[in-house]
């Protein structure tokens, strides 16, 4: 039992820190800290900086331009990026589609799409959820019918994150309606510029536009855009979901968030004393910090297993549930810490008037509290995760 990083791992961490200190743009950090939307350009800028460094694809093999980092290195990198308030890299192409193409796609597909993901030519989004297929994803209805050398796609996807920027969408579509649900699904790559594809914005409760509906009306998709075999899409989707779960615990985000809460609580005065000295608030901070310390070690336990090739199974679900509970608790603390200054709607006032209302840290916290309710809903809701844990552990 050794709780500390090896000298090599510490050297790697220092290298990451030095890189972030030098290359992460100040304006980007400020935007992340203020909870402002980075926009397409901001995302692409950070994407390009990482690509130039060769650190854009931690989990890819070197032959495709990846880092081939092990699980501990990936964890160190993700944690340092979160501490530094670096943008979260849009995962759809890099860590969701790419592993599926490498495992199940053709050589032609890999050679064509992977370099374009790295150099930023193609922005990918994910076409999984539908209005009637959320937690019950396998009930999806978007239909793809083969006609000669094309599929004709009709249907609707929803909750498509950053679909408004996307050039391509990878979709789960139904190619055989007459078999068991899971056996009639295929994995299809669709050019968003094809006639019949329409993106409609969904505005979230904090006024942000990060998700969309994507509608398909008689969309012609060449058959070479099918990944793997027809009707095997569910297998690929499940494989993808295991990759979606990198950094699932969000330890770095929680630690960064907790630092922000402490900074706020030192600045806020309550009854003539700093809020951080208030016993009730101090107890709330301590409670979540204690939970986080334990979860950080749970996370490392799972990562060190993964580093020697043991893929996480049910542990990923456990980390998702506990990780989101902790992150949401920290968001709640930030909201509380802001006091009356949580009430202004900062993103509305920011236009043309950049002075914050009240302390600068107060602006985004209430909107973030509401926005981050999504953490326990998307990527398989916490109810679905609990179902997986029970099913696996109870042997039912």
């Amino acid at each position: 039992m050794d709780l500390s990083y090896s000298p090599e791992e510490i050297a790697f961490r220092d290298e990451v820190r030095a890189f972030l200190a030098e290359k992460l743009p100040r304006e980007v950090v400020d935007k992340i800290r203020m909870g402002q939307e980075l926009g397409k350009e901001g995302q692409e800028r950070w994407h390009a900086i990482l690509n130039e460094q060769g650190w854009l694809a931690p989990n890819w093999p070197r032959e495709y331009g990846g880092c081939e980092w092990n699980a501990v290195q990936r964890h160190i990198f993700e944690e340092e990026c979160a501490f530094a308030n670096a943008p979260r890299i849009v995962p759809f192409g890099l860590s969701m589609l790419a592993p599926v193409l490498m495992k199940f796609g053709s050589k032609e597909q890999c050679d064509h799409y992977l370099p374009r993901i790295l150099d930023g030519t193609d922005w990918w989004c994910q076409g999984y959820s539908e209005p009637g297929a959320g937690s019950d994803l396998a009930s999806l209805k978007t239909r793809a019918v083969r006609e000669g050398d094309h599929y004709i796609v009709n249907g609707q996807k929803t909750w498509t994150t950053l679909g408004q920027y996307a050039d391509w969408i990878f979709c789960l579509v139904r190619t055989d309606p007459d078999v068991k649900q899971q056996e009639g699904i295929s994995f299809l790559l669709i050019d968003m510029n094809t006639p019949g594809v329409e993106v409609r914005p969904i505005i979230l409760l904090d006024g942000t536009h990060e998700v969309n509906e994507v509608w398909f009306t008689d969309v012609k998709v060449p058959v070479e855009n099918l990944v793997g075999e027809e009707n095997k899409g569910w297998t690929y989707a499940k494989y993808l979901l295991t990759h979606e779960r990198t950094n699932i615990a969000g330890v770095g985000f929680s630690q960064a968030g907790l630092d922000t809460v402490k900074r706020m609580a030192r600045a806020e005065m309550s009854g003539g004393r700093p809020l951080i000295e208030n016993p009730h608030f101090a107890a709330r901070i301590a409670q979540v910090e204690i939970d986080l310390m334990a979860m950080a070690t749970t996370n490392l336990r799972i990562i060190s297993k993964a580093a020697v090739g043991q893929a996480p199974g049910v542990e990923a679900s456990m980390l998702k549930v506990k990780g989101t509970i902790i992150r949401q608790e920290i968001n709640d603390l930030a909201r509380r810490a802001a006091g009356p200054y949580a009430m202004p709607f900062a993103s509305e006032t920011a236009e043309g008037d950049n002075d914050p209302i009240g302390p600068d840290y107060a602006g985004p916290v209430a909107a973030q509290y509401f926005n981050y309710r999504k953490l326990s809903i998307f990527g398989g809701s916490n109810e679905i995760q609990r179902g997986i844990i029970a099913k696996v552990k109870m042997g039912g």
């Binding site: 937690s135 929803t158 409760l205 309550s270 209430a366 809903i377 809701s381």
Partner: protein
């Protein structure tokens, strides 16, 4: 023992519920929130005609209610519909302070409030005061026959629409003293009064207010010099009853929306409410909702009694805890749809949670309760 509403309050509740169900739809409300004014003058006037504002004042003040249960009845309905119009600020706080402290020249303003013709705002909280009611740095100094105000007021709800602002300032005492606090009527066009307005996350508008050598006649003072605190505390107590009732109403809507969704949304071939894991969590919300209802009854029933502050601290703490639970669980059990701006629950959840940021949050009221219990 009788926990039924009186006939008059029952009528008020029915009228208000029908009007809001009919006129205050999600689309209408979302349009109001997006508008420059942040509230609807038309809705305001119609509700005034229905007697909604009059119900918040007693007969002596020109109304026909004014007791804790009148406030609770009105605000529960406003909460159910997610109403963003500034009844708390204009009527409970502004109008209530003038009614309690005003002289014969000032009291006619209350009639204008009840008729729906005047908007008011209370400028009391300051950038450094958080929820401390007696912490006040804004100063009032005598200068010749005049009073001169200097200071800053934070998150003054309804300041831009208000014809008059009621501004607190210190005429004597140290920064956290209860004595030495006075209230002044400041016309919205007073020289030296600065407003920086903005929308709020849960609807409505507020402003940061600066007072730079604002010169007022002595007659602008409400009540005696340095003696406003007890009345201010009483009106804030009334505001706390109103906020608790509003949150209760909003929780009723959140729970009802969740019930409907659980019974209509199908996944895995059946309504998701038939999964026991969700059914039990929904039952917990109903249990807590009844706790919240009783807490509001306790607070409303003691608004004019000797145990007012303890009961109100108790109610706001419980409402804060239950409110967070209901808002978060309602969103979680809905899933993504509840995260969208156009779905009713999104606004309702924001109203519930953001009441925790006015006149003390859950922790503040817990500390108040502990201090008052020990006293």
């Amino acid at each position: 023992m009788n926990f039924e509403l009186t006939e008059e309050r029952q009528m008020l509740q029915d009228t208000l519920r029908r009007f809001l169900a009919d006129r205050y739809t999600t689309e209408t409300r979302n349009r109001i929130i997006e508008s420059d004014a942040g509230f609807s003058a038309e809705i305001w006037n119609e509700l005034a005609q229905l007697g909604v504002i009059g119900a918040l004042f007693n007969e002596e003040q020109g109304g026909f209610g004014g007791a804790g249960f009148d406030l609770a009845t009105v605000f529960e309905e406003l909460g159910r519909a997610g109403v963003v119009e500034p009844f708390l600020d204009t009527a409970i706080l502004g109008g209530g302070l003038i009614a309690a402290l005003g002289n014969e020249d000032q009291k006619p303003l209350v009639e204008q409030v009840i008729a729906g013709d005047l908007q008011l705002a209370l400028g009391h909280g300051e950038p450094a005061s958080r929820y401390d009611l007696s912490r006040l740095e804004t100063t009032a100094r005598a200068d010749g026959g005049d009073i001169v105000l200097n200071g800053r007021k934070a998150v003054v709800v309804n300041a831009e629409a208000a014809g008059q602002l009621i501004v607190s300032a210190r005429e004597a005492g140290e920064v956290a003293d209860e004595t030495g606090i006075s209230l002044f009527l400041v016309p919205s066009d007073a020289a030296g009064l600065g407003l920086r307005g903005y929308p709020m996350l849960a609807g409505g508008r507020a402003a940061e207010v600066t007072l730079d050598e604002v010169r007022l006649p002595e007659t602008a003072r409400l009540g005696g010099a340095g003696a406003a605190y007890p009345v201010l505390a009483a009106r804030v107590a009334a505001a706390n009853v109103a906020l608790a009732a509003e949150a209760l109403g909003a929780m009723e809507t959140a729970t009802e929306l969740t019930r409907e969704y659980l019974m209509t949304r199908k996944q895995f071939g059946r309504p998701i409410g038939t999964f026991q894991a969700l059914a039990h969590r929904f039952s917990d919300l109903l249990i807590e909702l009844e706790q919240a209802r009783s807490a509001v009854i306790n607070a409303a029933g003691h608004l004019d009694g000797p145990n007012r502050d303890l009961q109100i601290a108790s109610a706001r703490n419980l409402i804060g805890r239950v409110g967070r639970l209901v808002a978060e669980e309602a969103i979680q059990m809905h899933g993504g749809i509840a995260m969208t701006q156009e779905y009713e629950l999104a606004h309702i959840a924001k109203r519930i949670v953001m009441t925790d940021h006015r006149f003390g949050d859950t922790d503040y009221h817990l500390e108040r309760f502990i201090a008052l219990s020990a006293a």
